[in-house]
Every structure is written in structure tokens, then in C-alpha cells.
């Protein structure tokens, strides 16, 4: 689990000002969270599946594919 990756996502989700800054200048915002190069790359590439794999918080890895089809 990457706490720094989780921290930046939590902050972006709860802090509209920071999210706005991130959209303008992602490198500047990412530099505040001590992310690894791989983590920065995941964010820059908007690699949702890669981020899920990196976080590995829930044990629900891969669940995105299933959950959107609850019909």
C-alpha cells in the first residue's frame, strides 16, 4: 500500500483548491507528497487500474470491471 499515493488522492478529493492547482500544474502538487516516479507516472497517465493495484487497500482489486454491471 502506498500512503503517499492515497494521501494525495484523498487530498485532491476533499480539497477543491488543491484539485484545481493539480489540474493546472500536477508536478507542483505532486512534489508535496513524496511520490515515487512510478506513482507520479500513474497519476500523470491517469492509470486508474494501475493506481488501484498500487493502493491495494481493500482486497477488492479488479472490482471496477464487475461493479459497474449490477444490472
Amino acid at each position: 500500500m502506498s500512503n503517499n499515493l492515497l494521501n494525495i488522492l484523498n487530498e485532491l478529493s476533499s480539497n477543491p483548491e488543491l484539485e484545481s492547482q493539480y489540474k493546472q500544474d500536477p508536478d507542483s502538487v505532486m512534489s508535496k507528497f513524496e511520490l515515487t516516479d512510478d506513482e507520479k507516472s500513474l497519476l500523470k497517465n491517469e492509470d486508474t487500474q494501475g493506481i488501484e493495484a498500487a493502493l491495494q487497500l481493500s482486497g477488492d482489486k479488479g472490482s471496477i470491471q464487475k461493479i459497474i454491471k449490477l444490472t
Partner: protein, 259 residues
């Protein structure tokens, strides 16, 4: 009436920024919280609200048929309500949009006279309206699930926009927990849409952002190129109107005579 209680809530498309204050309050005060959300970010946040958090995701691993997985989810939630607990069930997006077990839970709870309610959440459709600047109040809006659209003869109104959902599973008739879209599903969809719309009509492939800071996807192409697009599980198709609605002059004249 049972003293158990059920509240069904949605997380919106991005947690926590889309989750409502009403949903948060119910989660915090619940004895037991079931959840099925697609990302670790939401799981971490939900755990911070209530420690008694139970995932329903494993229901998919216990059976091969989606309908059976949904029944497992319903059974698990109902068991806790029968213990007279305050139960919250959390689903991704809006809990009542493209979610079968939430409606099954509501129906069963009502039959058993259990205090229950479903709260609204932010759905992908809500995000689409915002991101693409669409107001369904202007000329209406039609909305169909992709496979349903293929399998049924529908009276498509070309004077109103059309939204086609779940392109990523188009043509999946298996109802298996392992998603199996038809290999030519997008081509079939394009062919059927070309019965209603000109091939050069510009359509937009849309995907809502699912993590904070990320951009939504909005890729516009002529309908003739639809089947060439890269489709993801969360892809949606937006088709603008091609005609103007015909005024109902008979009604207008009759109405004027009554004034």
C-alpha cells in the same frame, strides 16, 4: 414492524467528494455497513466513517451467475436487518441506477415492513450532463442500456438526444459474473444506430472521471467510426438530436380557443 432499518446510499462517481452529507450521516450512525465500491480510495474513506464495514465484492467469487451474486448480497444485508440492526448498504454512483440488488433490497424490505429508504447519489448521467453541458430540460433526453437497445424495437426520437450506457458490455447475454461482451458488439451498435442517424452524424464517447484530479473523456467522431473507438467498461455514448421536434399545432390551437 421490525426494529431493524435499512438505508441505501451511493458514493457518487468519486469518493469522498461526491458523497452527500446525508449519506455520510447515515454511514456514521449505522450498526453495520455493507459496501460495494470500485476503488481503494472509497474503501479507505468509508472505513474512516464506520469501522463496521463489510465488503460485498466476494459475492461475485462465490457464484458464476450475476443474478445469484445479487441474491447473495441481498441475503447478507437482510440477515443483519433481521437482527434489528441499523444497516446501511453502499453502492457506487447512484445506488438505484444500474444496480439490481439495491432495488431487490428495497422491495423485500417493504414486503417485510422494514423501515427502509434509498438516498440519491451522483450518477454517471449527472456527470455527463455537467461535463458535456447537456440540459435534458431543453429538448428532453432518451437513455438506454446498450444491449437492451440492440435487443428491442424502440421508438427512437431523433429530435431528442440519445444516451447509450454500458458500451463495455454490449452484447453480453451470459449474465455471468465474468463479463463477456460480444466481439462485434460495437459494430452491431453502430449498424443499428445508422438506421436512425446519418453516418456522418457526430457522436461523443464519454467516460466520467473516477478519481480526483482526473479528466473525463469526451471523444467525438462521426457515427461511421464508432466501432473503431477504444471502449472501456465505463464508456457511454452521447448522440445529439438530428431533427427539431414538430410543433403540435392542433393542441396549441385548441388550447388558444380555451383561453
Amino acid at each position: 414492524m421490525s426494529k431493524g432499518r435499512l438505508v441505501i446510499v451511493g458514493t457518487g462517481m468519486i469518493t469522498p467528494k461526491h458523497i452527500t452529507q446525508e449519506a455520510i450521516n447515515h454511514i456514521k450512525n449505522a450498526d453495520c455497513v455493507f459496501y460495494i465500491t470500485p476503488d481503494a480510495l472509497s474503501t479507505g474513506y468509508l472505513k474512516s466513517l464506520n469501522k463496521n464495514l463489510i465488503s460485498l465484492t466476494d459475492c461475485y467469487q462465490q457464484t458464476t451467475h450475476r443474478r445469484d451474486a445479487y441474491q447473495l448480497m441481498v441475503d447478507r444485508v437482510m440477515q443483519e436487518i433481521e437482527k434489528e440492526l441499523r444497516v446501511v448498504a453502499i453502492f457506487y454512483g447512484h445506488p438505484g441506477v444500474f444496480v439490481t440488488p439495491s432495488h431487490d433490497l428495497m422491495k423485500l424490505s417493504q414486503e417485510r415492513k422494514i423501515d427502509c429508504q434509498m438516498l440519491p447519489g451522483i450518477s454517471a448521467e449527472d456527470c455527463l450532463f455537467s461535463d458535456l453541458g447537456i440540459d435534458p430540460g431543453s429538448v428532453g433526453c432518451q437513455s438506454y442500456e446498450a444491449t437492451f437497445f440492440l435487443l428491442n424495437k424502440l421508438a427512437i426520437n431523433t429530435s431528442s438526444p440519445l444516451i447509450i450506457w454500458q458500451l463495455g458490455v454490449v452484447g453480453d447475454l451470459s449474465f455471468s459474473t465474468q463479463i463477456k461482451p460480444a466481439s462485434d458488439g460495437m459494430a452491431m451498435l453502430q449498424n443499428k444506430l445508422e438506421l436512425f442517424y446519418p453516418s456522418d452524424h457526430c457522436v461523443t464517447l464519454y467516460e466520467a472521471a473516477t478519481l480526483p484530479g482526473f479528466r473525463h473523456r469526451a471523444e467525438s467522431v462521426p457515427l461511421s467510426q464508432l466501432s473503431e473507438l477504444s471502449i472501456n467498461d465505463i464508456s457511454t455514448l452521447y448522440i445529439p438530436a438530428t431533427t427539431s421536434p414538430e410543433p403540435d399545432n392542433d393542441f396549441v390551437n385548441q388550447w388558444r380557443q380555451l383561453q
